[in-house]
Symmetry: C3
Subunit: 337 residues, 3 copies
């Protein structure tokens, strides 16, 4: 494919030679037959020394020998270009003989059901869905069109997954929420009879756990993107477009707004509300409601810039203590006079 | 079912109309045909405005139009009532033709073994057990009566699970403890030849990992309740009734007492002893032994109330530093006189 | 087996009676027919009171009645002895009739493929590999000789695992890295078309997640040992012999050196470099590059000894504030004079 064709696909302009491009790569690893990109200005120097034949950039670089496609959002443009060179796997529709599909389940004929998949009674699997081996699709589960369940995904009875979702391996959707009432002698299990609803275009990373609601529903909004090993407690609601990074935990009944970012290893307490468009830095511990639009960090969570100052003092605490000790001695001396 | 019948089932009194009740719901979502409950006084206002037909409460509310069942522990009472309206799934006993059961395994005839279950040599599965698809029951494993293994549970060879346990999807029981000895050139694996014993009435949340002991046993006591994504290292012992919330990690050989609560994202160091009836707040990092009956938080772990005060000062550290700077200047001035 | 034979196997000397030994055990649980070991001097008192018939020690103990094998590294020696008494399970080679193996996959005839294993097109499984039930070996995956995949391991298409590796249950290798570009309306998925390469002699604990690279490779070096529930982001590179303890998370493109130790619940930020031979204590939050050979702790990460002092002051912050308040009052008084 020529640079001019790629530029055309992106509705972008290009400068330099209209070379033949055969693959995609990073700034470091690209060969003259590859196209690469520069999104973060931090890597401009690497871009100036890349051996790539073409580069997608925001502003023109002084590289005479590299063809340049100029666009506002090089990262997005590159993401779109990757699929030109590495097309998605095509799959054969149909139900494997080695799968178990309950006779009362409804599988669209364009769906692909791999060996060792289990699909329970009254479950519905939409068109062009792909259900990889060892997935469990419980009784009454609904899976929307085009959704992919990678191997070893478990969807407990009655849960619903929307259209165009990607659920990675080991994800558990709809296990019981954590609820017990002490009866004087032991923990009595509070039945968890709600469900999980996952809206459209959601991606969930491997080995995440999303508990069903006690009575109503746990809901993951459209276009939510969740990294690996995230825990979502019962009755949690997560708004559209929210990003949740790896190993974050969200306790029961928390309400996470739209367009929120929770970075890695955060914790959100039970019943907490996190406002729309807010951002929590890595490892933030959120024990109080968060206003919309703020940027927070730390534990207890506080304004991110304030936290940076707090951390700065924190690491010098022993010196600060020494200064305090000295001051006390000096004042003792003054007082003695 | 009438309110009077529900009250009778609970051995409780009721006031108001003896309505027909058809379902269970939350304060917010209940319809006039539903019963709900008020356990936390924080939600009294919601209770006063609920549209439920009946409510389980501790103290009488001034709602004339809602039937009220009065009981000491509304949460427990409600938990018991849920099962009146949402009965547990009934399952057909028997071994699926699509399961693999070793000829030398012993499966009680009242157990349900789903498709794609693997049961190894000499394993024993007790009466009324339910083993969902894709579970692996290793060689010599014993599973007590009435225990449920949700899909994709792995129980390594030789481990034992008691009666009435609920093991959620993705749980791994009996993987090797983390033990290596440096031999001068590489890490030599210390064989992990012990096992895991899980006593009765234990519930383990999805994707938890519980390692087998190096030589003896890792033991989870009766009525322990574990949330999702918890890590339990080799040789750990956890006492009866202890609650462990999501994403907590317990390092090898730690001893957790009875009736302990470890809230979410805690960490317990290797060989640490945590005393009976102690409570650790979310994210507590426990690096020293903990006395019985205490409430702790923070990292390093300290008395919870003290930690609240520490956090309060911590967040104002930059201001404190400024005050220290000012004091030094003032004393410098005084000293100059 | 006699003590003299065990000593011979270890090329070590022994003192005391040349007893018959029948098993291995801990200091606490050993019977007179068992051999045990003392590695940590902290447990010398236990060693003096053990009922074991023989003990592996570094320095001679004043126990007349216990046979003693003297060696420089008792822990390593014991690890080697365990396998004399508890041999590894022997497995029958061959492909189960209940497995699914693509006709274009290549399985060495000495490998053991259990029921319900799925092996995709063009995958290669080396000699003496063991693939336990419910594993998914994707298209084009390569698994080196002698590697064991415990039940429910998922290896996505195109990933490579070296020789002599042990991959515990629930591990996911090669799920998509977490990469999205905002297109003005939604998160556009950045295709993750790289792979994961796991070198030789690597052990990975249960339910770990290791993402495939966006374009190139995520690489886990030879003899890396990873505990349970560890997250490894896309494009991460981990050097040889590095130890990563449970629940640690490593964000995308981080470079972890050789012989590094990351203790439990650590976090490493994206693109961070952690130098060779460095050690991070439990829960360290690494947001800046780490030099080789250092020992760090805390968040922000700092020199471990400094952190111990910081923690010490931190826990007394309220008292420190009180002293500051008192000082201010005293100076106010002085100033008034």
């Amino acid at each position: 494919m020529h640079v001019s064709e790629i530029a055309g696909f992106l509705n972008a302009t290009f400068i330099g030679e209209d070379r033949q491009i055969e693959g995609v790569s990073t700034l470091d690893n690209a060969k003259p037959s590859d196209i690469t990109f520069l999104a973060n200005p931090k890597y401009t120097d690497k871009a100036l020394h890349t051996e790539a034949g073409a580069i997608i950039v925001k502003g023109r670089l002084p590289n005479e020998h590299v063809s340049q496609i100029i666009t506002d959002n090089p990262y997005l443009a590159f993401a779109r270009v990757v699929r030109l060179f590495v097309p998605e796997k095509t799959l054969d529709a149909g139900i494997s003989d080695a799968a178990f599909v309950h006779p009362d389940a409804i599988i669209n004929e364009s769906a692909a059901i791999y060996p060792f998949v289990y699909v329970g009674k009254h479950a519905k699997v939409g068109d062009r869905c792909v259900i990889y081996p060892h997935c469990y699709v419980g009784e009454g589960v609904v899976i929307g069109q085009g959704t992919v369940l990678y191997p070893n995904v478990v969807v407990y009875d009655g849960c619903e997954i929307g259209k165009g979702c990607i659920i990675h391996s080991g994800v558990v959707i709809g296990s019981d929420g954590f609820g017990f009432a002490w009866d004087g002698q032991r923990h009595f299990k509070v039945p968890q009879v709600g469900k999980v609803i996952i809206e459209d275009e959601v991606e969930i990373g491997s080995n995440c756990t999303i508990d069903r609601a006690a009575l109503t529903e746990t809901r993951i909004g459209t276009d939510v993107k969740m990294d690996n090993l995230v825990q979502v407690g019962h009755n949690v609601v997560i708004g559209e477009h929210t990003i949740i990074v790896s190993q974050t935990g969200i306790a029961g009944s928390a309400r996470i707004g739209r367009n929120v970012i929770l970075a890695g290893q955060c914790g959100v307490g039970g019943h907490i509300k996190v406002g729309d468009n807010s951002i929590a830095g890595a490892r933030t511990g959120i024990a109080k409601d968060v206003k919309p639009g703020v940027v927070i960090s730390g534990y207890p969570a506080m304004d991110h810039k304030k936290w940076l100052r707090v951390q700065n003092v924190y690491k010098d605490l022993p010196e600060m203590l020494k200064r305090l000790n000295d001051l006390e001695k000096r004042i003792d001396k003054i007082d003695k006079h």
